[in-house]
Amino acid sequence: MMETDNSMIAKEREAYSAFRAGLNEAADGAETLDALLQLEDILYDIIEEEFQINYMLDQFLKKQGEGS
């Protein structure tokens, strides 16, 4: 068993905020076709990885549910 402190959660929240701000900025700034295509490319990568994270979270929650 391992107890994780609030700093880890805070760190993750901070990273998420930076990512969200970056994405909003990129979306607002994608005025040319070239910028749009670059953003599309990055979004493909991000979403693909989010599918993986989602799978990992599901697996964890499943195990957690079985353990409780």
């Binding site: 959660i9 970056g22 979004l43």
Partner: protein, 335 residues
């Protein structure tokens, strides 16, 4: 070759992409494309004509007054989805066959063999639908059919107009059946009705060749999932971008979509479609992230014993999310 498509204004760009690819693979064939619609303007039709080019292909607008197929206007489907049920009413007097094509498709080979095939006494020619065995059994049970019956997809559909007219299968019959049997759940307005009536009276063609849905095979049948251009072009004559795989909506990279975008790049709609795609992806990313945060919150929720995360793997997960988010932010800054 007589072709029918059904569109509203929103689908003009993807119809043009499909028709450009159709034309490219039938250079020596006269194509008469009947465009069923209820809202296109003269300007829209002129623009489509200019985009596709007039050599060897004629666009023939067929205006359908709004509400004509009102009985079949259900759920998320626009009424244009049911226009194919008007095939006998509209065309049986002038021709003996017509091929309906959905517009979320890319034509990658000849359709002449499909179009000219003998009906062998059947009302329709089509390909098996994309659904799991369980879904198919449920459909067949709902329609009181043999559980092992094949269910066809109505995206590529050749109508035997002579036989349909001879036996009286006009729109009024479909509407009448719908009224008499409201218990029949019409999930896909046109497709379910046609399967209900013609499930055992349809000639089946190879669905890999004539109605290949890349996303279906990616999810359900990896062995037959083609993700190289060479495989797609040599094995398939029609790519059908079903479900969430429509190129302007899909968050997933697929070679079939890249091929579609190449055709789209030759239309004046390209940048607008790309903008729409990015907006769709941003929306999907937001939804996906909301879901991830919800799950992460469940992991970090403080249980009664005071521990925030009660296992090493939970902490690792949080760390993983953190690292990826930092990397995403870096990618965006570099852009």
């Amino acid at each position: 070759m007589n072709i029918m498509i059904s569109i509203n204004r929103e689908f003009i760009p993807c119809a043009c992409v499909m028709l450009m690819s159709l034309k490219e693979h039938h250079e020596d064939t006269e194509l008469s494309v009947y465009v069923l619609h209820h809202e296109l303007t003269q300007q829209d039709l002129l623009e489509m004509d200019q985009v596709i080019g007039s050599d060897g292909i004629a666009l023939i607008p067929v205006y359908i007054p709004e509400g004509t197929v009102g009985d079949f206007r259900m759920g998320k489907w626009p009424e244009e989805a049911a226009y194919r049920l008007l095939a006998t009413d509209l065309f049986a007097r002038d021709m003996d066959r017509i091929l309906h094509l959905d517009t979320d498709m890319l034509i990658t080979g000849s359709l002449l063999d499909f179009y000219n095939t003998s009906f062998d006494g059947n009302y329709l020619v089509a390909c098996e639908d994309f659904m799991s065995k369980e879904q198919r059994k449920k459909k067949c049970r709902d329609f009181a059919k043999d559980e092992d019956a094949l269910f066809f997809n109505s995206g590529v559909l050749l109508f035997n107009l002579s036989k349909l007219a001879e036996d009286g299968f006009y729109y009024a019959v479909y509407a009448d059946i719908l009224q008499k049997y409201p218990a029949i759940r019409i999930e896909f307005p046109d497709q379910d009705m046609l399967n209900l009536l013609f499930g055992g009276k349809t000639k089946y063609m190879d669905r890999i060749r004539y109605n290949y849905a890349p996303y279906y095979y990616r999810i359900y049948d990896g062995e037959r999932y083609y993700d190289t251009r060479e495989q797609l072009i040599s094995n398939c004559n029609v790519l059908h971008m079903i479900w969430m795989s429509k190129p302007w909506e899909s968050p997933v990279r697929m070679e079939a979509n890249e091929l579609w975008w190449e055709y789209a790049g030759r239309t004046p709609y390209y940048e607008a479609m790309k903008r729409r795609h990015v907006q769709n992806m941003l929306e999907q990313e937001r939804k996906m992230n909301d879901m991830l945060r919800d799950k992460a919150d469940r992991i970090t929720a403080e249980p009664s014993d005071g521990q925030l995360i009660d296992s090493a793997s939970g902490a690792q997960l949080l760390d993983e999310m953190c690292r990826r988010e930092q990397r995403f932010a870096d990618m965006l800054i570099k852009k």
